[in-house]
């Protein structure tokens, strides 16, 4: 299960989220609301896609 891309995307989203929590300016709030949150959603979709693919390969599902 290769999760390199989701891991990098998650790191980027975590960095934006941490910066926003530390210093909540309008620009960081915008970055968190419209960039980091959708990134986390993409990460979750990529992760679960891998999980379901692996389960199907093992004929669990």
């Amino acid at each position: 299960m290769n999760l390199t891309a989701p891991a990098w995307l998650a790191i980027l989203a975590f960095a934006i989220t941490t910066a926003f929590v530390l210093h909540p300016t309008p620009y960081l709030m915008l970055a968190f609301a419209f960039f980091a949150q959708p990134l986390f959603l993409i990460v979750a979709i990529l992760y679960f896609r891998r999980v379901f693919r692996e389960l199907r390969e093992k004929e669990v599902m």
């Binding site: 975590f14 941490t18 909540p24 309008p26 990460v43």
Partner: protein, 235 residues
Amino acid sequence: MKLLALELPALVTVVRVLGVILGLLGVVLCLRLLRLKQADLTSARVVKLGFVALPAVAFYKLLAFLGLFAVPVAAVGVANYHVFEGTREVNSCNQCHVMTPLVTDMRDPHSNTLAARHFRNHWIPEQQCYHCHTDYGLNGTLEAKMDGYRHLARYTTGTYKEPIVQRNVYSNSNCLKCHDGTPRYLTVSSHRTLAERLQGNEVSCLNCHGWAHPTRAQRTPGSPDYNRLMGKEKR
């Protein structure tokens, strides 16, 4: 926040610290995930986590679940809580420079606007903006939250004009929630005769009580009051 004799940190501080911890934990977990190699997974290697020993594959899967799903969910939850709690503070409103004239005026001991009088007399001890503007912005209903995000997008993209203008009619319910039914309020005969019209927003409280904030003319760049309201010069 005081509990018994203990002085606890403010909730916003706790949320901020928690948010930073979750953010850093997420980054560490993801970096650890990136360091794992295919060879680690195929071998019978065991990873020790304190008292627990896990096969490398199980450790990798646990790491992936935490780093890519569980910690992001927690971080997004905490950051969103920070959005909605943080935006109640006056300093949060003041982050956008178009709000500076309103905040400067509210804190001005010589100003006679409604906001300044409420602030000066401690009628609203904290989160003054939020208490009078609860029905819209990021702390209101879902529709109001969407509007709050519109404000954010307009501000950060610079697609707005100064002075800013309120789109909707300011609802009297924001005033009445504190004043309605109080003995002092009921002694004023016009409050009783106009009760229904005040409840229905047919008449504004501001008609009799004056401006809540500096006028649009005062907040227009280049006006004689603009620099003072922007905090660049004193009265």
